[in-house]
Subunit: 290 residues, 2 copies
């Protein structure tokens, strides 16, 4: 283990990935493919499931023991469900060497970062991350070394976060091909409620609205609009509950606009309908150029 592993410009020698599914597997793949660390340790409850990642050279070793992996690592990344991250980080941190940086890939940041804002062993830091990449698919068999390429990765430093740890984390995600943006944990949760958690609720609601007899008439538009509703219900229950206040606020904003659509439809008001559709279109089209 290098003594310089804690300095700002160094690359981690050893990365431990806790939870090697789609995201964890893709991070492992990118780290090895880009030679960002010498060793990647995968931690999972069922090591046999991680064999595909081992045989492709993305993981050097697999273990069920979070603490053992944490003890060896310069960088520990939790890719577990959001409701298991904070406790897992505490458990791992207790055995980390000073200078170890811990992060995660969870879709919610406020509750996790608050829970981890103090009480970690001296010299061990946690800063939250959220790489905005994913899929309705799960499992490391769908992992892709380019999943983060060109994507945004939000990092959410706290007041207590040190400059060097922040820089190391930023460099790590940048080397994986992501564009790093910093937000406070609360600002992250506000933004993601609107861009990811509300869309999940909306897509699920639309998918649930479809009658069985109408399935043959669901074409690409319906399929695209509801694709994310195939995401894992357990993971999404945890995400939505961890950010319920912001999701409810976004839902309320959404319902006000729905109400305008309804009023326009009820009164056959072509002008209002067109205005609403134009506003939606220009908002959506703007994403194609950003």
């Amino acid at each position: 283990m290098s003594e310089q592993s804690g300095t700002a410009s160094s690359r981690p020698e050893t990365v431990a990935i806790i939870g090697v599914g789609l995201i964890g597997g893709s991070i492992a793949a990118a780290v090895k493919t880009r030679s960002i660390a010498r060793t990647v340790i995968g931690v999972g409850r069922t090591p046999a499931r991680l064999e595909p990642a081992v045989s492709r050279g993305w993981l050097d070793r697999v273990t069920t023991d979070v603490s053992a992996a944490a003890r060896e690592a310069d960088l520990v990344i939790f890719c577990t469900p959001v409701n298991r991250i904070a406790a897992g980080v505490r458990e791992a941190a207790a055995l980390c060497r000073p200078g170890t940086l811990i992060t995660d890939a969870g879709s919610v940041k406020g509750s996790i970062c608050e829970e981890l804002s103090d009480g970690l062993p001296h010299g061990v830091e946690f800063i939250g991350s959220h790489p905005l990449a994913g899929s309705e698919k799960q499992g490391c068999e769908f992992a892709d070394s380019n999943l983060l390429e060109g994507r945004v990765c939000v990092i959410t430093p706290m007041e207590s976060s040190t400059g060097p740890a922040r820089d190391r984390l930023k460099q790590f995600w940048t080397r994986l091909g992501a564009t790093v943006r910093e937000l406070s944990p609360a600002a992250h949760d506000r933004a993601l409620a609107e861009t990811s958690h509300l869309p999940h609720v909306i897509a699920a609601t639309l998918a649930a609205t479809l009658s069985i007899e109408n399935r043959p008439f669901a074409a690409t538009g319906f399929r695209d609009t509801t694709r994310i509703a195939s995401g894992d219900p357990d993971l999404w229950t945890a995400i939505l509950l961890a950010n319920a206040d912001e999701v409810l606020r976004s839902l309320q904003k959404n319902e006000q606009i729905t109400e305008r659509f309804r009023t326009a439809l009820e009164s056959s008001d072509a002008e209002s309908l067109k205005t609403l559709l134009n506003a939606a279109k220009s908002n959506r089209d703007a994403l194609n150029t950003s």
Copy 2:
């Protein structure tokens, strides 16, 4: 012009396509690529825009004159906005030869079919069609000879529709690679409200909900869920108004499910949330196997 053009098993000699955008252009492309008719005439208000389709051999001729094209054709297909189809069909039908079949590609069928259920010249028939293929893109430059391959095309015969005309229409779309399903115009509008028109409203509402400052955090999930909101506001205003009652009914069903999500979020009810997400997922997953 063949005298057999009106018989059940014959292929049309001449197809006139009124409105050569994405759908009209794709139909023209498929007709020529699969040698389904000898001649395809394109009708548009700005013939210069149809030049790409002419130079690719998808249109034999272009004209601005609906009546002249209709007079020559065995099969006339209206691919114009839904609020212009019925009047266009009446205008064309007045000059069609007996035995000519007229159809359309509109997303709403009830009002159009009702308006055209009687009063057409003797021997000229209209039966509605709706190929469930499309895109948020517009214009014949995006046309694709395989757009209908493997897609469902709904045809909506009326009580007055003759067997031979129905068979000819069914054969035509089948030859283009589509799977034909018959529905009454009213049943079509009920089904499509749920599978296409409501999703458009939902996607537009979600796109309109996004704040400008949150655009950088809109990843693939948001983009997929709102893709169809980029559709043309004029076309969609006409579609939504022409099917407003059914769209409002679907919206109400959707809002009842949204209400359940809201209640579960407000009360941090993990079990209910998971039940809702599970139902949505299994409904969505079922589309992948159908």
